[in-house]
């Protein structure tokens, strides 16, 4: 399978992804799925500077849904990034991501968000979205860097429940 990592990270292409994950996974391409960035040339140029020479494609969520299968079959190895849980959820709708794993990498504190891990803050809606994905056969786990501990969605939600 040529999409080697599906990751939710609001910073998209940044040090943790390019150095931390990139050095281990050696992707040929980053696929950034984001409505706004797909329309903004100057922001695309900015993010490309951070990709250490690896190709970057910016695509809107609906286009990404159409391309998902082709990317999987492609020989190029891709890391697919979304800024938001909801966009990853949209990609997975209709069973498009059954059997895939989604990595929760970094969502910072904000209004209506609760802390689950130091790098992960989620809203109620995002939790429901993730549970829905899990039930639909997508394995959701949190891990900021490849060498750190992997936390399953179940553990994540249980630990929160225990302390709140």
């Amino acid at each position: 399978m040529a999409i080697i990592l599906f990751r939710v990270d609001e910073r998209l292409i940044h040090g943790q992804v390019v150095i931390g994950w990139g050095n281990q996974l050696r992707p040929d391409r980053y696929l950034v799925v984001d409505e706004k960035l797909a329309l903004s040339d100057w922001e695309q140029d900015l993010y490309r500077l951070g990709a250490a020479g690896v190709e970057v494609q910016f695509v809107a969520p609906e286009v990404a849904r159409e391309n998902l299968e082709a990317w999987r079959l492609d020989t190029a190895r891709s890391i697919l990034l979304t800024r938001e849980v909801s966009v990853m959820g949209r990609l997975a709708e209709g069973g498009l991501m059954i059997g895939e794993k989604v990595n929760l990498g970094g969502v910072h504190h904000g209004p209506g968000r609760e802390e689950f891990l130091t790098y992960l803050h989620l809203t109620e809606d995002e939790i429901s979205e993730l549970e829905k994905m899990n039930l639909a056969g997508v394995e959701v786990t949190a891990r900021d860097l490849p060498d750190t501990h992997r936390v399953s969605l179940e553990t994540l939600l249980k630990s929160k429940w225990k302390y709140s």
């Binding site: 910073r11 292409i13 940044h14 040090g15 900015l46 993010y47 904000g110 130091t118």
Partner: protein, 131 residues
């Protein structure tokens, strides 16, 4: 010391880098380090970082010193400097460029940005035989 035309400096970087660099500047230059502010990216989203950068810059001419060209700090600084001629990003911050900065804050913004970037580059050498 402060004067409406002096350039403001913000060091924006990962973890403790900004405060660490400012601490070093203070130890070397004492009170003359005023005009520099440290902003860490710890726990902040790109949007939150940009809001902080905008608030500290205000309408002053400002250089934003970032540790990396891109990443959350570089991206936030680029957003903050977009559509204004009063703010410039200088990436790859190091101590020599900050020292150059605090002693020349009365220069025009563009000239000062070029000057500190040159100083920062020149300070990097590979071998002791080169000195």
């Amino acid at each position: 010391m402060s004067n409406i035309l002096t350039v403001r400096g913000i060091v924006v970087g990962h973890g403790n880098i900004p405060e660490g660099l400012l601490d070093a500047v203070r130890r070397i230059a004492g009170d003359q380090s005023e005009g520099l502010t440290a902003i860490s990216n710890s726990g902040l989203s790109v949007e939150d970082l940009k809001i902080k950068l905008d608030a500290v810059s205000g309408s002053d001419p400002t250089i934003m010193f970032t540790d990396l060209l891109v990443g959350s700090c570089g991206i936030a600084a680029a957003y903050s400097c977009r559509n204004t001629t009063e703010r410039i990003v200088v990436s790859g911050v190091n101590l020599p460029m900050l020292l150059e900065f605090i002693f020349h804050r009365d220069l025009p913004l563009n000239e000062l940005a070029e000057r500190v970037a040159d100083t920062g580059r020149e300070a990097i050498r590979c071998s002791s035989a080169d000195i």
